[in-house]
């Protein structure tokens, strides 16, 4: 399909690139402990970008038998209104694309019965009186082909599976929601499912007692899930797009030490076993790892072809595109690589803690503070500025080094750039959460307000 489309584009436009993707999903859903639904979804689509008279245009369709000529004409019409850009489409390379396993037979071939069995196991392990347990298992197989008129081609098959358990406990007017998931390219092992069960159990058990929240500027342990609010501003600021637009606080700061020297962050599309991993991006750029933050210093920003062209740099292989719209910048796998920067940390040397251990081994020295596992409304404020302010969704009070119970009706606030300047401690509980790997971090001086 891609070849026919690019052939059709040749001669009618200056250059073109395209992505074709076909996805098949199979899902089973347990509601209140009962298997309620099984479903499949099949979707295929194609996205075309052209340069015509130096101007860029795009067109996409989910039609089963798209007419290549019509699609090219639609993209040309779009280019007629488009901006001039000197896009350098990567050419055919002699070297093979980086080798990264993205397709796992066991995942692709798992039967409906196998998916149901996995879900049922979680339901049985997590059912308890007074709690409602919902479980979903979703498997995806995707074929991707990318190509351009400069001769570059890329093709791969990928699998992904997500197993989600969410438990709701209502007692009187108290609503408690505890949630966790396994996400991988390959099927979860028994140990993975066991870890998921233990994670939900631990969070639930510690939450059964409700205690008064503390107040003031306090030490707060952000779990890998709780960290989302702190990381989101960095993700936006490290995007070549916001840098180009002048709205990134990190623009012009490459090489400057803005964060704790133990903090390194990478975007790595070549991480084995992750659904976001891929040999090539959606614009034919071979995948590679990008150091976003290196030992506290601002590293590289991420770019797709267009932003790279405008910033006069190279794409980092972070081009992402859907069937509709033009390619844009997207992260793949974000990994926190914590190193001992000569301080008292040494976290990497100590044995890792199981990820269900709340607080990652960071609470022993906290006289009064919080563990934050979930915040409400993340992404809805003035994110790019670094400021965050959120009510807690799931948080625990720590007093004299011990978890004393769950807190409600409290809100935490701070600025990501301030709190990451000095990290109070690095947890030994590093884990994947969707496409991000991080440990818990102890951050000091976080504002906690209560009613």
């Amino acid at each position: 399909m891609i070849d026919r489309l690019l052939d059709s584009a040749r001669g009618r436009v200056d250059n073109a690139d395209a992505l074709w993707r076909r996805e098949e999903q199979t899902a089973v859903a347990f509601e209140s402990g009962r298997l309620k639904a099984a479903g499949i979804s099949e979707e295929a689509g194609i996205n075309l970008r052209v340069l015509a008279n130096g101007r860029m245009g795009v067109a996409g369709t989910t039609a089963a038998k798209p007419d290549p000529k019509e699609l090219v004409e639609r993209a040309r019409a779009s280019a007629g209104l488009g901006e001039i850009v000197q896009l350098a489409f990567p050419g055919a390379t002699a070297a093979p694309l980086p080798s990264i396993p993205t397709f796992f037979d066991h995942t692709a071939n798992a039967s409906l019965a196998e998916l149901i069995r996995m879900g049922r196991l979680l339901v049985e392990r997590l059912s308890r009186p007074g709690c409602q347990i919902n479980v979903s298992v979703q498997r995806e197989v995707a074929d991707t082909a990318v190509g351009n008129t400069a001769g570059a081609r890329g093709e791969y098959r990928a699998t992904g599976i997500a197993v989600t358990a969410d438990l709701t406990r209502i007692a009187g007017d108290d609503v408690l929601m505890v949630y966790d998931q396994y996400v991988g390219a390959d099927m979860p092992t028994d140990a993975d499912l066991e870890a998921l069960v233990r994670s939900v159990e631990t969070r639930l058990a510690a939450a059964l007692t409700v205690v008064t929240p503390p107040e003031g500027a306090l030490p707060v342990v952000f779990t890998p899930a709780g960290l989302a609010a702190v990381i989101l501003p960095l993700e936006q600021a490290l995007s070549g797009k916001t840098v180009l637009q002048g709205s990134s606080p990190l623009a012009g700061k490459v090489g400057e030490t803005l964060f704790d020297a133990r903090l390194s962050i990478e975007d790595d599309p070549l991480t084995p076993g992750r659904p976001a991993s891929r040999p090539v991006d959606d614009e034919c750029v071979p995948s590679r790892c990008t150091a976003l933050v290196e030992r506290g210093k601002v590293g590289r920003f991420v770019y797709d072809l267009e932003t790279a062209a405008r910033a006069k740099t190279e794409s980092t292989g972070n081009g992402r595109r859907g069937v509709f719209g033009k390619p844009h910048i997207g992260y793949t796998n974000i990994l926190f690589r914590m190193t001992d920067g000569g301080r008292d940390g040494g976290a990497q040397q100590a044995a890792p803690l199981p990820s269900h251990e709340l607080g990652g081994g960071l609470i022993a020295d906290i006289a009064d503070g919080l563990i934050v596992d979930d915040l409400i409304g993340v992404g809805q404020g003035n994110v790019i500025s670094g400021a965050f302010s959120h009510p807690v969704g799931l948080a625990y009070r720590v007093q004299r080094g011990e978890i004393t119970g769950r807190v409600k009706d409290a809100a935490v606030a701070g600025n990501a750039y301030d709190v990451l300047k000095r990290i109070g401690g690095v947890g030994r509980d590093g884990r994947w959460l969707g496409a991000r790997w991080s440990p818990s971090l102890l951050l000091e001086g976080v504002s906690v307000a209560r009613r």
Partner: protein, 459 residues
């Protein structure tokens, strides 16, 4: 198309079968700063099949290739039969509807050249950029669509709906050194080209606000008396209460049902809340939901008392209540689930205005505009676009980063005054639930006073 769907229905071996087919024509223009991002026309189409058998669960198939329809009906049936259930799924009765419901296209967007749409957005985007040299970045977008939806089920329903939509949004980023602030305008209408003209002033206002916020202090974290403006009060009732009134949260959960017992007091007698999918001309308005049930005005809280909830056919049957036409799907890629439409706080006494609400507040916060909201049912967050302190009964200085931390039971019960100045706030974006985002919804409210609410921030 209807004949083709009827033919596939006939071949289904399942006890209950429904088929939904959608064809959506859309165009989109976006600017970032002074630069055009995209101007495109897209076509999306696909189908959705859902079947039910006695003693079995739902079997579901969605697909983009309509040639596969007969095969997909068979596969959905196989999937349903693979899900064995002790307690059967029942669907509440709905008289089978047959209708063609064509909403007013209000200037069919398919007949307007893409270059015209680019010119319009260029004007709005330019209005933001012209406000100040401190506006360093903007994100402006225009998107329209005309969606055709066919729905048939094995009980005899056969519907065709033509739904237009048009969404305008603008974000202005103000910057001075490391200080970065934003202003946001968002307009979403179930209308067409005629309805999106002459919005320059609204875009200018948000850009000016981004500049003004650069000098504003962060609000101090504390519990305050809070006045919500119409827009934020709408987001508040959607997040704080609307999601709990969706019956899929209670129908399988005895503890939740007890918490949400009809007749329970949720607020003071001034509080009246409802959801009206049949309201005229709003973004959340639909003649029929995605199970073929006619939409309606459903009272949820009357004089402070819980009186109703939002249903699909399945949740209504389980609770012995009547379907309300709230089963909605964002597209053929998803099954219908219980969702809101146009959710509102009814106006208080005619003539009661904003000034009557603030006159006796010594120290409080006037929270305005909405960047968003999210609920975890009992607790929720809603993020204001900006705020003002209220001092000695008067609106005082501008403050930023105003985020309200709410608790359903405490916050609803502390609404003590509701003004008479009701407006519908037709914003773009939409509601997210169960992986389905963005669903077009509208919220409506007057100014609302909460005696005390928690605002996050430095303490």
């Amino acid at each position: 198309m209807k004949d083709r769907l009827a033919e596939s229905l006939k071949q289904s071996r399942a006890d209950y079968t429904e088929i939904r087919v959608e064809r959506t024509w859309s165009s989109a223009v976006a600017f970032r700063g002074r630069r055009l991002e995209t101007a495109t026309v897209s076509e999306d189409q696909g189908g959705f099949v859902r079947v039910l058998n006695k003693g079995c669960g739902w079997g579901i198939a969605s697909f983009t290739s309509l040639d596969e329809l007969p095969g997909m009906v068979r596969r959905a049936n196989e999937l349903s039969r693979a899900v064995r259930l002790d307690e059967p799924i029942r669907l509440a009765d709905v008289a089978a509807q047959t209708a063609d419901a064509v909403l007013d296209l209000d200037g069919d967007v398919r007949g307007v050249a893409l270059s015209e749409k680019k010119r319009l957005l260029d004007r709005y985007n330019g209005a933001m950029l012209a406000v100040s040299d401190k506006i360093v970045d903007t994100q402006s977008s225009y998107r329209d669509e005309v969606s055709e939806v066919w729905y048939v089920n094995s009980e005899g329903a056969s519907l065709y709906q033509l739904r237009p939509e048009v969404v305008l949004s603008g974000t202005a980023i103000g910057r001075r050194d490391g200080n970065i602030e934003k202003g946001l305008e968002s307009i979403g209408l179930r209308k067409g080209w005629h309805s999106v003209q002459n919005y320059e002033d609204r875009f200018r206002v948000v850009a000016q606000r981004a500049v003004d916020l650069l000098d504003a202090p962060r609000v101090r974290g504390a519990a305050y008396p809070v006045i919500l403006d119409n827009e934020l009060a709408g987001v508040f009732i959607h997040e704080a209460f609307g999601h709990l009134s969706e019956a899929d949260f209670v129908y399988e959960n005895p503890q939740a049902r007890e918490m949400m017992t009809l007749g329970r007091r949720f607020g003071k007698p001034v509080l009246n809340v409802g959801d009206n999918g049949a309201a005229t001309g709003l973004r959340g308005t639909l003649p029929y939901d995605d199970e073929g049930t006619p939409t309606q005005d459903t009272p949820l809280i009357t004089a402070g008392i819980l009186v109703g909830r939002l249903h699909s056919r399945e949740t209504a049957a389980k609770l012995g209540e009547r379907p309300t036409g709230n089963a909605r799907a964002i597209s053929f890629r998803h099954p219908p689930i219980v969702r809101m439409t146009n959710t509102y706080i009814a106006p208080g006494q005619q003539g009661v205005g904003f000034n009557d609400l603030i006159s006796d507040i010594k120290l409080g916060v006037y929270a305005c505009g909405a960047f968003g909201g999210q609920t975890m049912l009992e607790n929720f967050s809603f993020t204001a676009g900006w705020g003002h302190m209220i001092r000695d009964g008067k609106v005082a200085e501008l403050v930023k980063d105003v985020v309200l931390a709410g608790n359903l039971f405490q916050t609803l019960d502390r609404i003590d005054h509701i003004a008479g100045d009701f407006t519908w706030n037709q914003m773009g974006g939409g509601c997210g639930k169960g992986g389905q985002f963005p669903l077009p919804v509208t919220e409506g409210a007057p100014h609302v006073r909460i005696e005390e609410a928690l605002i996050g921030g430095d303490v």
